[in-house]
Symmetry: C2
Subunit: 140 residues, 2 copies
């Protein structure tokens, strides 16, 4: 477009991430209440989290709990308690999407894409300058 807006970059709401103190209790909540169970679990040491992914159509509910006290998710739980932590938007090309965010004046947490869970390539965009929303760009 003439004003520099990119072509549509988002192909799916990849996941909604919910920070929880007790991963087993959170999994049990979703099973008892909505009859849904994780299709994938993973410990991501670099982020200091363990996550459980519940598939809902082409998206996931990502339950995420800290594995160590200095994990960013531990800090989030301390400040705000359990609740919505971030949203993951699926993109075709994480590096290209990151560049689009940069060109639009966004503030990046990851300057370059890095490995995410379940073999994805990801990058986080800072909530400051993104409507207060921590955004993860996810390339499968």
């Amino acid at each position: 477009m003439s004003d520099g807006a990119p072509a549509p970059l988002l192909t799916e709401v990849d996941h909604v991430a919910i920070a929880v103190a007790d991963l087993e209790a959170a999994i049990d909540y979703y099973r008892r209440t909505f009859g849904v169970t994780p299709v994938h679990r993973e410990r991501v040491e670099s982020d200091g989290v363990e996550e459980a992914l519940i598939a809902v159509a082409e998206s996931y509910i990502q339950l995420v709990s800290p594995t160590r006290p200095d994990s960013p998710v531990a800090g989030f739980l301390e400040r705000r308690g359990e609740g919505l932590h971030h949203v993951g938007y699926r993109v075709t090309d994480c590096a290209a999407a990151l560049q689009a965010v940069r060109e639009a004046g966004g503030r990046l947490i990851d300057e370059v894409p890095r490995p995410g869970s379940r073999g994805t390539t990801v990058a986080f965009v800072h909530p400051k300058g993104a409507l207060g929303t921590l955004i993860e760009l996810v390339q499968e």
Copy 2:
């Protein structure tokens, strides 16, 4: 199941709702950054909000701003600032899903389903007892 968990109730992540102070600025952020634009806008007087829905595959990003000072979203913005406000899970039968939440011991905001935006039938589940997450059940 023998422990009373229901059959799977969630058919889609219907929407991720982001509370924003300035709806036009928020729409502009998504257009400039990700090249996406609303497919629907609606003022919901009963909730004191105006919303813009950006379609991403079968889900929506719901940008929501208050239309009056006593709107719950106005209170949210005052307490926490802009950011993730709630998640909408699509269900086949809102009344049945609400009953499942009730039977699992969940705390309800809406005791019975009511009209939502774009002709949907909805009910909200209280974050207390739902991992700190405000959940909207959405039947299309």
